[in-house]
Symmetry: C2
Subunit: 351 residues, 2 copies
DNA sequence: ATACTTTTGGCAACCGCTTGCCGATAGGCT
DNA sequence: AGCCTATCGGCAAGCGGTTGCCAAAAGTAT
């Protein structure tokens, strides 16, 4: 009972050499076949093609399988079928909190459908990313690219081999899932406008980033609608450090409110401003983007546009699995709503 | 261009039928063999057993392989050899920032040696964890368990099948890598003592947690050495919320400084205290544990004991790969130094 | 040149599972 | 009972590599 000997199949798998040591050889369908007194192919069918064999032999086989603690060898399974029950997920930077949600969402929905996810990081390098993708291609059924850095053509090329879903970027001809920045950013601008701000500066992220220009565009449009003057300053790096470095420029821009490309920038900015005795939000309001883990650790808490990355991950994995099961739709972009999360870093200007 | 047909496997796998459309069927060693005019087995050897064939035929084969853009089918490779070039990583909770570092460290060092990592989450459930582990066992060469929740015997049982490394917990008979809490916690206590604190309360984490009791022990020992009185209060959950909930109890404990089981607890506590107009660190000092992402977002920044989880991940993957290559040592526990990171949440008591 | 040892490449048998094809069996029908 | 048609199980050929064994080729020594 309490005996917990490792499952010791002890299988005299090798029909000949009964040479002593009980080596843990996993049971195969042949072992089951022998035990159940049927042909291996019947075992295979009983286990994977439900209706193909009579229920009598099926239960017979299932019992035998259970007794042997049978686990199908996934490699043997993948070889003839080409289906691996595995999806690849490549993220630009594992340590970037933005991706935590994506990873989790993708992993959980994949696991729900008995798919495994194999993870790789590109370290923000287009080259490493592409090679990781190519390497993976051979062992997965499909790929999720989160904020890919490689260019569109390469992505399309990969998609020509196996289903590919892109998260956080729009690629023509590929199924994408991206946060709809307009909604959240619109809310942010109106929120700021409602507090009397008339001049907002946007702290841009990497110049080459598709997402950054997309967000700047959204800010501009929202500002136009609210009759607000949008300004833009360019940050060197989208990090806390970058945020601190840009503080001086922000102040001299004369805006009373800033919307940052991301939370890190916003937090760095806030820290630097506070260090210079500015009070947030009385003297300047700050809005971040992403609502990363920790955005509520600051004092005051950071008002930010939440990009539901976990939802994106779930969605991406869902679309991918759907495509793998043949119910794939025509590639298109699915937009996930973003929303403003109001905390303490925004408010009325107290002149 | 805009042609977006789903990847149409459509594979006319059979190399014979050259019936038109250039379907991207991956090249096999047979194709190479034909192109190079040698036997497939020679190709296999040329590609994986360096010295086994003459350099002449080898370059011949390599050229052919390059021309065909050959990528070995990992499944076909895994079948006869049993080696999958994949390691499994199971974490208790993907969204818990503590694990980000571990994941990253493990992934990067595995990738460096051309191993892939397949990731799974146990959602803190011992049952899900065990089943995930068992499922993985079939497709990986070895396993890394980060903060496993299953019991020791199950872990040992898994380790009986394939190499297993445990992170963040000590299991007899298994190779483990755990942060050496004594060092950092000792520094924390001495740091506090140096600021005149004479009574420290430790906010404990989950009662069942091995790590929590380990840390409490370390605090007690350090306190004894510094002639300080250690107190302990139990938190319900090791989260921000849990931290906020425990604030009242902490205050009434009469201690002037607290060391929390983890950063989340510390941050929640700090937030609640500040909301009640306590000033940190003038009225009470707070030390966290982990140095999670965002621990420096607070105001004041959180003084905390840094547990270098990325290093643990690197170390764990390194040990695992070593074991896989047969250079494994006798199981033992490797300790990774923790260190105190001093920010603003600790200081002299200003009565 | 002869005999002998090393290389080197080929043959074929797996690894464990899937699947097309076929014959046997059983059930349904007149 | 006799015939027809589903249903079910078995056979065997792969999937794409690896590898033990062997013979041909090449190198070495006498």
């Amino acid at each position: 009972m309490t005996e917990l000997s490792p499952p010791e199949a002890d299988a005299k798998a090798s029909p000949g050499k009964a040479d002593g040591r009980a080596v843990k050889t996993n049971a195969t369908i042949y072992d089951i076949a022998k035990l159940a007194g049927v042909n291996p192919s019947t075992v295979s069918r009983a286990l994977s093609k439900p209706g193909r064999v009579s229920v009598k032999t099926r239960t017979l086989i299932e019992d035998a399988a259970a007794e042997l603690d049978y686990q199908a060898n996934p490699f043997a399974k993948a070889l003839p079928t080409g289906k691996t029950s595995t999806v690849g997920l490549i993220v630009a930077d594992i340590a970037n909190p933005t991706f935590f949600g994506t990873i989790r969402g993708a992993e959980s929905t994949a696991a729900d459908q008995d798919y495994s996810v194999i993870l790789a990081e590109s370290a923000e390098s287009p080259k490493k990313e592409l090679s990781a993708a190519k390497r993976m291609m051979a062992s997965v059924d499909g790929l999720i690219l989160a904020s890919p850095r490689m260019d569109d053509d390469h992505i399309r090329q990969l998609a020509g081999e196996k289903p590919v879903i892109v998260v956080n970027r729009n690629v023509e001809g590929i199924t994408c899932v991206v946060p709809d920045v307009d909604k959240g950013l619109g809310e942010a601008v109106r929120h700021l406008a409602g507090h009397g701000h008339r001049k907002i500066t946007f702290v841009a992220g990497p110049e080459a980033s598709w997402m950054s220009s997309r967000r700047w565009l959204a800010v501009q449009q929202a500002c136009e609608w609210s009759r607000i003057e949008p300004l833009k300053v360019q940050s060197q790096t989208p990090t806390i450090k970058g945020g601190r470095a840009i503080a001086r420029t922000i102040v001299s821009s004369g805006a009373s409110a800033v919307i940052a490309y991301n939370d890190l920038l916003a937090i760095g900015l806030m820290q630097e401003l506070q260090a210079a005795a500015y009070v947030v939000p009385d003297q300047i309001s700050i809005v971040g983007f992403d609502d990363i883990f920790g955005a509520d650790f600051t004092t005051p808490g950071l008002t930010t546009v939440r990009a539901p990355m976990e939802t994106c991950g779930v969605e991406a994995a869902g679309l991918l699995l759907k495509a793998l099961k043949g119910h794939g739709d025509v590639p298109s972009t699915r937009y996930i709503d973003t929303e403003l999360v109001i905390r303490g870093s925004t408010g009325k200007l107290l002149a």
